[in-house]
């Protein structure tokens, strides 16, 4: 596919169905987005010791994120330099060496080749060529514990890529008196449609009252069995919440204006809540503590970091495109460092009830993804993202700030997508 077809896939804030359905587009996305930009791969809390590793991926590439014996965190292709087999089959753990099961080649946990079996079988001239370690991913960097990698040796720095989303990451991270970690395990699910609809949906302030009507009715129930109408006002068309496109494809749904002081009040009523609040104030000061508690509560602040990381409710969400029509998603509940254990345990229970493969909220989103997937089949269908174009305010940084139910976040995603897809090569 040449340049022109990509240019027409997103025009006048409408998306052609083939952007979600075409295998050629998916292949090009792997080259032009996932081979170039910064991709979230793991959290430092998952790599506590020398030799700690996690299996991850950058686009379709399987990678190992490893803390070497020297303490340095590296991203290595999980691909034997001999015949290409994955050298590690585990989700995570500790290892001093990785041994390929196919012909027994071994690699140190910094990626260097440790040994070739029967090395005499190689000519002297060949041995230097074949004796390669696990290929390192050219660039690895982290932001307050969040590890990103780029398959491109050159390009914007991680901080340049994160741009205007960093203050929002800070808010989510500061929801722990001592920051947050990702040490509570993970849930997984898949759905048979394109990855980009999950990116759009985590910052969609328009859908909740409709898609999640059943969950909100149950969660908003009063003791007498009636349903509070208040719960449906949080995300309606008059809500003071904001939907913000931050540039570079990043976006947030900011419901702090709607929640106001209630998020702190709710937190105080949870197990360990008063102690959590006390430690938050001690760590961050009262104003910042209130802001971060609100952002880190259930609905306070959804964040999307282009192209594959999100914060939703209590969780970190990682989006993994597998094929054009299959997406894997990881949900990692955050553990608030420095908060009382019972407060964190209670957050795990809230997460399980609402999200994941058996949550009250999550599965209804997947149903809509599948319905869009079915509806877009055939010729000429378009997805419309023009809601709120007239009312969204764009500042001098290019940040577009709109009412909660506007589609400013989705437009921000597609602008970055289009820019990446129209750039044929980077030097």
């Amino acid at each position: 596919m040449g340049e022109a077809p990509f240019a027409t896939l997103y025009t006048d804030d409408r998306v052609a169905a083939s952007a979600y359905l075409s295998p050629e587009v998916f292949t090009a996305e792997q080259d032009r987005i996932f081979q170039r930009t910064w991709v979230y791969i793991a959290h430092e809390s998952q790599l506590p010791d020398p030799g700690s590793f996690r299996s991850s991926s950058i686009g379709r590439n399987p990678v190992l994120v490893v803390r070497g014996d020297d303490g340095v965190v590296r991203a290595l292709h999980n691909r034997c330099s001999h015949r290409g087999a994955t050298v590690c089959q585990l989700e995570g753990g500790r290892a001093t060496v990785f041994r390929c099961g196919y012909h027994g080649w071994t690699f140190r946990n910094d990626g260097q080749l440790a040994g070739i079996t029967y090395p005499d079988g190689y000519a002297e001239a060949d041995r230097a060529q074949v004796g390669k370690g696990l290929a390192p991913v050219p660039r690895v960097d982290s932001y307050r514990g969040f590890i990103f990698a780029s398959l491109a040796a050159h390009g914007p720095t991680l901080l340049e890529h994160l741009g205007h989303v960093t203050p929002y990451l800070d808010l989510r991270i500061d929801a722990g008196p001592a920051g947050l970690s990702a040490v509570s395990g993970q849930q997984r699910y898949s759905y048979p449609f394109n990855w980009k609809i999950q990116c759009e949906n985590v910052v969609d302030g328009y859908h909740a009252n409709f898609v999640h009507q059943s969950a909100l009715s149950v969660l908003g129930k009063r003791p007498d069995g009636s349903v509070s109408s208040k719960i449906f006002k949080i995300t309606n068309g008059d809500s003071p919440g904001r939907a913000v496109g931050l540039g570079n494809g990043h976006a947030v749904l900011d419901q702090r204006p709607t929640l106001g002081p209630t998020a702190v009040k709710v937190a105080l009523r949870r197990p360990g809540g008063p102690e959590y609040w006390e430690r938050m104030v001690a760590a961050h000061g009262e104003d910042r503590a209130r802001d971060a508690v609100t952002a880190g509560s259930g609905e306070g602040l959804n964040v999307f970091v282009f192209p594959n990381l999100a914060f939703v409710s209590q969780q970190i969400r990682v989006i993994r495109p597998m094929t054009v029509g299959l997406t894997h998603v990881d949900l990692l509940p955050t553990w608030l460092d420095g908060a009382p254990d019972e407060f964190n345990t209670d957050r795990l229970r809230m997460h399980e009830l609402t999200y994941g493969p058996a949550g009250l909220i999550g599965p209804d989103d997947l149903e809509m993804f599948e319905r869009v997937g079915r509806g877009l089949q055939g010729d000429g269908a378009m997805v419309d993202l023009r809601r709120g174009r007239e009312t969204v305010e764009v500042d001098e940084r290019g940040v577009s700030d709109g009412q909660l139910t506007t589609e400013a976040p989705q437009r921000s995603f597609w602008h970055a997508w289009r820019d990446a897809m129209l750039t044929e090569s980077v030097s």
Binding site: Q186, Y191, P192, S214, S217, L348, L353
Partner: protein, 160 residues
């Protein structure tokens, strides 16, 4: 103390499976003791649920919420309604606690059919049953997914 024979344990599990498959969810809820726990662990069946995330960890309140959502008219995941089928097998009495609660293990296949797709998951179940006022109540239903670390498709876990 009333003893639970293996045949009676089988009858109990068959009846429980039928209540789910026939969507008689309120009757299913009534099988649990008030302090009963419905637990589907995540990756590791022996995980510490106070520090590690599970897939389901329901006390009575959360079980009730789960069922209310399944019964809600705008449960889109079930519109059109899916069909559940449990196959219950390999039932054995695996222990009797000091409190008289009986532990029953079983292997089950649970199929959810909807939208032209069957999703089947294999699970190993542990039930702890306590005799209360002339009937057996579930103190613990622990359901371990064989595919716990898989990226399961939608519909894989409705009620196991």
């Amino acid at each position: 103390m009333t003893e639970l024979t293996r045949v009676a344990a089988e009858d109990f599990l068959y009846e429980e499976a039928a209540l789910i498959d026939e969507r008689r969810f309120d009757e299913w809820l009534a099988l649990f003791a008030d302090d009963g726990l419905y637990w589907v662990p995540g990756d590791d069946p022996d995980l510490d649920p106070t520090r590690q995330v599970s897939i389901i960890y329901d006390d009575a309140t959360r079980r009730r919420s789960r069922v209310e959502r399944l019964q809600h008219r705008s449960n889109w995941r079930d519109d059109p309604e899916g069909r559940l089928l449990h196959l219950v097998s390999n039932v054995r009495i695996s222990g009797i606690g000091a409190d008289g609660a009986v532990e029953v293990r079983s292997n089950q296949l649970v199929t959810h059919s909807r939208s032209g797709r069957d999703v089947t998951v294999a699970v190993a179940c542990t039930h702890r049953l306590r005799r209360t006022e002339g009937r057996w109540l579930i103190v613990l239903k622990k359901v371990c997914l064989m595919a716990a670390e898989h990226y399961l498709p939608p519909g894989a876990i409705v009620l196991l």
